[in-house]
C-alpha cells in the first residue's frame, strides 16, 4: 500500500493509509497530548486535549479521531491550539482535587503530565470552593477503590469494559456537571455486572480508579516490571508483576495491552490481577512435609520424593495399578499435565487420570 503524505508542523511526513492524525504524528515522532485516547480503544474525541489546527478547516479537530488525509497541513502546537488546549486542561482542574501527594496515580498520572507539558500550575478559572469533594470514596469491595472526585470523565473505563472486558457493567449517567460513570441506575458496583477484572482500573489515566491491593505498596517509580505468566489457570495470561525494588515484594499486577507476546491481549481476571497476596503469605508451604503418626514434620525434597516413590511402588505391587489415581491441576501448565498423565499410564500403568476441573 502507498503511504499518505502530509505536512505536520512544517515537516513532510509519510503515514499508512487509515491512520488518524494522532497515529501519523506518533509514527513520525511528533508528540500530541491526549487524555481520553488509548491505542487499543476506539477514539471518541471527548477530552479535547489533542485538538490540532488543520489548514483550510475552520474548526480545530481532534487528532485522535480525525483520519489523516493526503496533503493535510497540520499544526499541533500553534498559538491557537495551545490556547484551546490550555483552556480545556484548566477547566478540568477547576473541580479536580489536587491530592497528588498521596494519590496512587502520582508519577504516572496523565493529567499531571498534560498540565506539566502546558506549564499549568493552577486553573485561572477556579474559585474558592470549586474543588469537587462531594463524592464519597467507594471502597466496599476488596479489589479496587473508586474516587469519583478525581474522575475526568474520559470514558476509557467504559470503553474498556465494553470492548475488552465485554461485561458492559458501567456507563455514563446524568447530564451536565452531574455526569458520572456508574453501573446501571440504582445498583452499586458490588451488585452489578462488574466481575472486578480490574481492566478499567489499569486503563484509568488518573487516580479515580486504583487497586485496593496496591495501597501503600510503593510509588510507581519504585517498581520493577517483571513479565510472567499467571499461575492461576490454563489460559496463561501474560502479567507484568510490579515488584517494589526497595522491599522486594510484589506491589501490584498490571497487563500490557500492546504486548506482542500476550495471548490475553492485556486482559486478566479478578484472580490474576488482585489475588497475588499468597505469594508473601506466612502460611505458605515452602518445604515438603511428611506426615508421621498424624503430625507433619519438615523434610527435604529428596526424602519426600523418595517416600512418594516408595509408597506408589508398594501400593501397585500389593493391590494392582488401578488402585492408584492421579489428579492434576488447572494451575499446572499443559506440559506439566501432559507429563503427569504419562507418569500415570506409562510408569504406574493406570488410566485413572483426572483433573481438578472435574472435582
Amino acid at each position: 500500500m502507498q503511504g499518505i503524505e502530509a505536512i505536520i508542523n512544517g515537516k513532510k511526513i509519510i503515514a499508512e493509509p487509515g491512520m488518524t492524525i494522532l497515529q501519523a504524528a506518533r509514527a513520525n515522532g511528533i508528540h500530541i497530548p491526549t487524555l481520553c485516547d488509548h491505542p487499543v480503544l476506539k477514539p471518541v474525541g471527548a477530552c479535547r486535549v489533542c485538538l490540532v489546527e488543520v489548514e483550510k478547516n475552520p474548526k480545530l479537530l481532534t487528532a485522535c479521531s480525525t483520519p489523516l488525509n493526503p496533503g493535510m497541513v497540520v499544526h499541533t502546537h500553534s498559538p491557537r491550539v495551545l490556547e484551546a488546549r490550555r483552556a480545556v486542561v484548566e477547566l478540568l482542574l477547576v473541580r479536580h482535587p489536587l491530592d497528588c501527594f498521596s494519590c496512587s496515580s502520582n508519577g504516572q498520572c496523565e493529567l499531571q503530565d498534560v498540565a506539566y507539558e502546558l506549564g499549568i500550575k493552577e486553573s485561572r478559572f477556579a474559585d474558592e470552593g470549586d474543588t469537587c469533594r462531594s463524592y464519597a470514596l467507594e471502597d466496599a469491595n476488596p479489589f479496587y477503590v473508586r474516587d469519583m472526585n478525581k474522575c475526568i470523565l474520559c470514558g476509557r473505563c467504559i470503553r474498556t469494559c465494553d470492548s475488552l472486558a465485554q461485561y458492559h457493567a458501567i456507563d455514563f449517567q446524568n447530564r451536565g456537571i452531574k455526569t458520572m460513570v456508574q453501573p446501571p441506575v440504582g445498583k452499586d458496583l458490588e451488585n452489578s455486572d462488574c466481575t472486578f477484572c480490574g481492566q478499567c482500573v489499569q486503563m484509568c489515566p488518573v487516580g479515580a480508579l486504583s487497586e485496593k491491593t496496591s495501597i501503600g505498596q510503593g510509588r510507581p517509580w519504585e517498581m520493577e516490571k517483571v513479565k510472567t505468566v499467571c499461575s492461576y489457570c490454563g489460559v496463561g495470561c501474560e502479567l507484568n508483576i510490579l515488584v517494589n525494588k526497595k522491599t522486594g515484594r510484589i506491589a501490584n499486577v498490571k497487563t500490557d495491552y500492546t504486548s506482542q507476546t500476550a495471548l490475553n491481549e492485556g486482559r486478566a481476571c479478578v484472580k490474576g490481577r488482585f489475588a497475588w497476596q499468597f505469594v508473601h503469605s506466612d502460611e505458605r508451604l515452602t518445604k515438603p512435609l511428611i506426615r508421621e503418626n498424624g503430625t507433619f514434620r519438615e523434610a527435604s525434597w529428596d526424602e519426600a520424593l523418595n517416600v512418594v516413590v516408595g509408597r506408589l511402588v508398594q501400593i501397585r505391587e500389593e493391590h494392582g495399578p488401578d488402585t492408584i489415581g492421579f489428579f492434576s491441576s488447572a494451575r499446572c501448565t499443559n506440559e506439566e499435565n501432559f507429563l503427569l498423565q504419562r507418569l500415570a499410564r506409562e510408569v504406574i500403568g493406570t488410566n485413572n487420570v483426572d483433573h481438578c476441573a472435574h472435582l
Partner: protein, 597 residues
C-alpha cells in the same frame, strides 16, 4: 359523498386540546345533532393554527369566521346563533388585546395576512388523520412526479435549484447533503427525520407533525428515492404523544394506499418508515447523538468525520433532515425549484417558520419569507409589545442563539444576516423581550438550560458552561467581581472553539451576544450592584412611591413579615432590611405605587 353547507374547523393541536378543544368538539356535535343540523354542518378536527395561546380556535367556513378562546360551553351559542340563525357570535371573535377591536375573518388578521404559508399551508385546514384531505390538496403528487417522471439526479438537481437549506439549525444546503449521501456506495442507506425539537419554547415541528404529517412522510419518501435509501426513521420526542399518534396513523394510511412500503405507486421503489420515540434530551437532537439513540445507546454526540452521509445509522450512509426541511420537499418537487427560489434572499431561499413568543401581543407560529425584517415579524405580525412597553431585544435561535437589538429591527432575516449579528437562525425560536427583562438574567436562564442538557462528554462544554453559569449566578446575586466579564468572554470563546458538538459550540452565544449589546447591564450588576431592569432579586428592593401612595394600608396588611409601616392616608414605607421580596405588596397596591428598583 355527502355535501355540507358549513364546515366547523376545531383545532386539535396540542395547545388547543389542553385548553379544552376535544370537549368543545363533542359539545358542538351534540348541539348540532339536537338541532338536526348534523347532516348540514360538519365538525372537522384540524391541526394547529399557530395561535395556540388564543385557543381553542374555531373557524367556520365558508365565511372564514375566526373564533378564539372558545370554551366547551360556547358550543350552544355557536350552534344556536351562527349555524342556526346565521348571526356571528361577536363575543367570541378574536381580539388582539382585551379592548381591541374584534376581527371577524381569518384573512383580516394581521397575524395571518402578513404570513406566507407554504410549509404550514395545510395546518389548520385539513383533518390530519385523513389522508384523503391531504391528497385533496395536491398531496403525494410530488412523490408521484418524482417516481414517475424524474430520475434521482433530477430530484437532487431540483432541490439544489430550490436553494432550500436545513431548517434544523445549521442551514446546510439540502440538495448538496442529499448528493453526498447519494454518492456514498452501500447496500443499505437510511433517511431520518429529526423531530426531537428540544429548544425550550419551540413548537413548529410539533405543530407540523400534528397538523400535516403526510407532508413529512412524502418529503422523506422523495428523499429516499433520490438518495437510494429504502428505510427511514422519524425520531420524535416522547413528549409529543399526539404527533406520534398522528404519524403512526399517517404511515398506516399511506401504506394502505401504496404510497409507502413495497413497490410504491407500482414502481420498483420501496420505502419502509418507522417512528422512534426519543427520551427527550436536548442533545439527542444533535444528529450523531440522535443516531446513537436510535441504535439504543446513550445519546452522546460522536466526532465527525465520519459524517452521516458516509457512516451514519448503524454505520450505513444516512441523511438526516429536520421536520420543516422535509415538509418543504413535496412542494418544491411539485412546483419546481425555481418557484421556491423565487422567494427569499440571495442565499436564503423560501420561507421559515418561527415560534414567536415573549412580550408581543400575538404569539404563535409564524411563517414568513426569508428576508422579512424583524420589525415586520415583531410589530406587524406580532402586533407590537404588550401594554405598549418599549421593545428591547429578540432572542433568536433559542439557547444556541443570540439576542438582537433595536438596531437590528430592519435586518432582513436570513442565515447570513443573523450569524453576522451574532445570533443564529437555529430552529426558529423567536422570543421578544421588553424593557422589563434583565439581559444577564436571560443569559443565565439559557445557560442553565444548556449546562443541564450538556451530555457531559467533552470538557469545555461540561465544565466550561458550568463555570460560566457560576459566574452569571454570582453576578445576578450581587457578588460579581471585576474581571468577570472578561472571564465570561474568554471562556465563551474557548468553549465555542473546543467543544465537540453544536451544543457546546453555541452554548455561549446568549452570553456573548448580550455582552456585546448590553454590556452596560453586566457592568451595572457588577460595579454598582444594580439590576437596571429591576429583575434580579438580590439587587433590587421594593419601594413605595410616596407621590403615588394613597395610604390605603393594604400593603401593610398583606406583608407577611410586617415590613411596611405608615399612617392611614399617609404615604407608607418599606423597611428593606425586613422585606423578603415576596412582591405581595406590589400586587395588592390599588394605585401601583410599589415597584421594584
Amino acid at each position: 359523498m355527502p355535501t355540507y353547507r358549513s364546515h366547523v374547523l376545531v383545532c386539535g393541536g396540542t395547545g388547543c386540546v389542553s385548553s379544552g378543544s376535544l370537549k368543545l368538539q363533542e359539545n358542538l356535535k351534540a348541539e348540532l345533532a339536537k338541532k338536526g343540523l348534523d347532516k348540514e354542518v360538519l365538525v372537522v378536527q384540524t391541526g394547529c393554527h399557530g395561535m395556540c395561546e388564543a385557543g381553542p380556535i374555531v373557524v367556520v367556513y365558508p365565511e372564514g369566521t375566526f373564533y378564539t378562546r372558545v370554551q366547551p360551553e360556547d358550543a350552544v351559542e355557536i350552534v344556536e346563533e351562527h349555524l342556526f340563525k346565521g348571526r356571528v357570535v361577536k363575543r367570541l371573535l378574536h381580539r388582539e388585546e382585551l379592548n381591541a377591536e374584534a376581527v371577524a375573518h381569518y384573512n383580516e388578521l394581521p397575524f395571518y395576512s402578513k404570513q406566507h404559508r407554504i410549509t404550514l399551508k395545510n395546518c389548520g385546514y385539513i383533518n390530519p388523520d385523513n389522508i384523503d384531505e391531504y391528497i385533496g390538496r395536491d398531496g403525494y403528487q410530488g412523490l408521484a412526479k418524482a417516481l414517475l417522471e424524474m430520475t434521482p439526479d433530477d430530484v437532487i438537481n431540483e432541490m439544489k435549484i430550490s436553494g432550500l437549506r436545513g431548517r434544523g439549525g445549521g442551514g446546510f444546503p439540502t440538495g448538496m447533503k442529499w448528493e453526498f449521501c447519494k454518492k456514498s456506495v452501500s447496500d443499505k442507506k437510511y433517511t431520518i427525520c429529526n423531530a426531537d425539537e428540544g429548544d425550550p419554547g419551540a413548537f413548529m415541528d410539533r405543530s407540523l407533525l400534528e397538523g400535516d404529517p403526510h407532508a413529512v412522510l412524502e418529503g422523506m419518501a422523495i428523499g429516499a428515492y433520490a438518495m437510494g435509501a429504502d428505510e427511514g426513521y422519524i425520531y420524535c420526542r416522547a413528549e409529543y404523544p399526539l404527533a406520534i399518534k398522528r404519524l403512526k396513523r399517517a404511515i398506516a394510511q399511506a401504506e394502505e394506499y401504496g404510497l409507502l412500503g413495497k413497490n410504491i405507486l407500482g414502481t420498483s421503489f420501496s420505502f419502509e418508515l418507522h417512528v422512534k420515540e426519543g427520551a427527550g434530551a436536548f442533545v439527542c437532537g444533535e444528529e450523531t447523538a440522535l443516531m446513537a439513540s436510535i441504535e439504543g445507546e446513550r445519546g452522546m454526540p460522536r466526532p465527525r468525520p465520519p459524517f452521516p452521509a458516509n457512516k451514519g445509522l448503524w454505520g450505513k450512509p444516512s441523511n438526516i433532515n429536520n421536520v420543516e426541511t422535509w415538509a418543504n420537499v413535496p412542494q418544491i418537487i411539485l412546483n419546481g425549484g425555481a418557484w421556491y427560489a423565487s422567494m427569499g434572499t440571495e442565499k436564503s431561499k423560501g420561507t421559515k417558520v418561527f415560534a414567536l413568543t415573549g412580550k408581543v401581543k400575538n404569539t404563535g407560529l409564524v411563517e414568513v419569507p426569508m428576508g422579512t425584517t424583524i420589525r415586520e415579524v415583531v410589530f406587524d405580525i406580532g402586533g407590537g409589545i404588550i401594554n405598549d412597553k418599549k421593545f428591547k431585544a429578540v432572542q433568536i435561535g433559542g439557547p444556541s442563539g443570540g439576542c438582537l437589538t433595536e438596531q437590528h429591527l430592519d435586518l432582513p432575516i436570513s442565515y447570513e444576516s443573523l450569524t453576522g449579528a451574532g445570533a443564529i437562525m437555529g430552529s426558529g425560536g423567536l422570543v421578544v423581550v421588553d424593557e422589563e427583562t434583565c439581559m444577564v438574567d436571560m443569559a443565565k436562564f439559557f445557560l442553565e438550560f444548556t449546562q443541564a442538557e450538556s451530555c457531559g462528554k467533552c470538557v469545555p462544554c461540561r465544565e466550561g458552561t458550568k463555570k460560566m453559569l457560576d459566574i452569571l449566578v454570582r453576578i445576578t446575586e450581587g457578588n460579581g467581581k471585576p474581571g468577570d466579564i472578561e472571564k465570561l468572554e474568554y471562556l465563551g470563546n474557548q468553549i465555542k472553539e473546543a467543544s465537540l458538538c453544536g451544543l457546546g459550540q453555541t452554548a455561549p452565544n446568549p452570553v456573548l451576544t448580550t455582552l456585546r449589546y448590553f454590556r452596560h447591564e453586566y457592568e451595572a450588576h457588577i460595579n454598582e450592584k444594580k439590576c437596571p431592569a429591576g429583575v434580579c432579586s438580590a439587587l433590587t428592593n421594593y419601594v413605595i412611591d410616596p407621590a403615588k401612595c394613597i395610604g390605603c394600608t393594604k400593603c401593610a396588611r398583606i406583608c407577611p413579615v410586617g415590613a411596611i409601616s405608615g399612617e392611614i392616608k399617609k404615604p407608607h414605607a418599606i423597611d428593606t432590611e425586613k422585606c423578603v421580596k415576596c412582591g405581595a405588596c406590589a400586587e395588592a397596591c390599588p394605585v401601583k405605587a410599589i415597584a421594584r428598583r
